[in-house]
Symmetry: C2
Subunit: 346 residues, 2 copies
């Protein structure tokens, strides 16, 4: 019985994140977390004829690096759980063709990072897999092209808009090994407070983050102070303060912990032209798998709750006047070495 | 340890499909399985202003009927695992907003029916949920509009093309109760033999069905004769004979069992203008949840392997000259009453 409360899985044998791989584009390579990523591409094309093929390459490279770090051949993977923002999640699916592992495609927009990690952890934590890979990717130009305007337009944006991260993150979860562990995962409900502006997705997603964070505490009996850090996925400059305010009003003692957002961490929002901050499936994936896992391995962080947020709109639903349904999935990642203060091991 | 072989889950406490709901459109209502569906819409509009809203309605109705049959209120659902063919799976996501349960969005094209049932069964079989709903939907006109041409064109099609089923199917899986049980699930790998013609998806998907069927027997040690019936999802008139031929060449003794295809069962392919047969997420969902579950409950079938097939292309990947990656997920559904010969209970 790993179900605790309504919608949280608590693992008595916590799955181990034995390795991860992160790949990013040039803007992320100029951001404050650049040193934490395994591979930084100097340009957005990456030698590919289309943006979509560039995005697929990112996912393939992240998967490859994760496998190398894990010292695993890809035939050892029981399952690859992955997804992305593209119509019919083609980037991940085509990468899965390369990886060759049994494949579970998921869609959670930018919450896909933790949706895939939650499902992969469920498999490992219940004996349904020996090795499972979770992965996701996004590319600034594929997202612009699909959700907004042709990239050639160079269209202007309001300051509430967000900047899609170019990158991919993959993690390999196993029953045993060296690395941070997944102790719990909370699955999100669709939250929709009626916001219809796709240039203000942070505000649309904030209630989903709040609902999942509160649900996580309710289900587990944990308090914010259990974590050294709680990070939302990509609420950015408009949505994150809104989520803070909502949690405060709801009486959640968030002052016990640090509360940050991957979309604000990945860029120097003041200097880089990213409007309100980062977004995209890769945003929370590369921050979690690049930056946060390394800080946990270094002993700088012990317990982190990553709350990846997703705006589940499509251009068509927007055109038909629908509001933006949002979701957030939370995964608790903790150090497996209580006294561990050493360097990065892999 | 529920992992058996490389990619199959075998449940020692088999999850029970306690209820299901199926809703279809007018063409399916004129097909040979019409009497097995819970609700038949007389037209494709269903009183909605857009095809997408009609498709969402189908999913909402199927979920609602499944909950009624299960005598469950929706707040009892721990999770809703769902997806569909639409960009960003909007039909299911907007239906999930109505259902209100914690939501795992997946994408497996037409394999989504069994992908969602496999994941929901994993949750139940491992104690990760008490009640989980699996569901998917498709609508002929949303699929035509998105993947092919504007519906107003009435464009001609080659005889290898398939006809997207209008409908939705939902099942509710639980740890105990009355109903057929899920004894095993095998997750598919991406198979791509280089077919690029979206009007011949049956041929593209056949190798994926074959690979998953063979993987299922390899992992479980079962033989085709273990099953009264093995059904593929939507290989239809071109793909299904191809899969039969491939299995024969590979030495799989399929003569031990009946081998059919949901895309050929749902329509009278000779009389109805459906080209090679049915396709779409709803095809295998409504045949499995409407027709097959009823036959199992009646005692006409004891053990069925449903192998849902999916063509994971997007219009963009096709336009960029890519071939069609395909996948198939198999779920074994069996009678829980070895001597049961009674009527339909729910």
């Amino acid at each position: 019985m790993i179900l605790q409360g309504k919608r949280t899985w608590v693992f008595d044998k916590p799955p181990v994140i034995i390795a991860a791989g992160t790949v990013v584009g040039p803007d992320e390579g100029e951001g404050p977390l650049a040193a934490d990523f395994d591979l930084v591409h100097p340009d957005l094309e990456m030698g590919q004829p289309t943006w979509e093929k560039s995005e697929k390459l990112l996912m393939e490279q992240a998967a490859d690096i994760a496998l190398q770090h894990a010292k695993l051949t890809k035939d050892r993977l029981n399952f690859f759980v992955g997804g992305d923002l593209m119509n019919q999640i083609i980037s991940t699916t085509f990468a899965a063709r390369t990886v060759g592992a049994p494949y579970i495609g998921v869609f959670g927009a930018c919450s896909t990072s933790m949706e895939t990690l939650a499902v992969a952890s469920l498999m490992i934590g219940t004996g349904a897999a020996e090795f499972a890979m979770a992965g996701t990717c996004s590319h600034n130009c594929t997202a612009e092209k699909q959700f907004r305007y042709p990239t050639e337009y160079g269209s202007q944006k309001p300051p509430t808009a967000q900047y899609t991260v170019t990158g991919a993150g993959a993690s390999i979860v196993a029953r045993a090994g060296d690395g941070p562990v997944v102790t719990a995962a909370t699955i999100g409900k669709i939250m929709d407070l009626g916001i219809k502006d796709p240039f203000n997705m942070g505000s649309a997603m904030a209630p989903a983050a709040v609902d999942t964070i509160q649900g996580h505490f309710q289900d587990t009996g944990r308090e914010p102070g259990y974590y050294d850090l709680i990070v939302t996925g990509d609420l950015a400059g408009v949505g994150h303060p809104l989520a803070s305010e909502m949690l405060k009003r709801n009486g959640v003692p968030m002052e016990q912990t640090k509360f940050q957002d991957c979309g604000l961490m990945i860029y120097d929002v003041e200097k880089q032209k990213v409007q309100a901050g980062g977004s995209g499936c890769a945003c929370s994936a590369v921050v979690a798998y690049g930056h946060l896992l390394k800080r946990i391995r270094k002993g700088e962080l012990r317990r982190v709750l990553v709350v990846a947020t997703g705006a589940l709109l499509s251009p068509l639903s927007y055109q038909q006047g629908e509001s933006i349904p949002c979701v957030a999935h939370a995964v608790a990642i903790e150090s497996s070495h209580p006294g561990y203060q050493g360097g990065v091991t892999a």
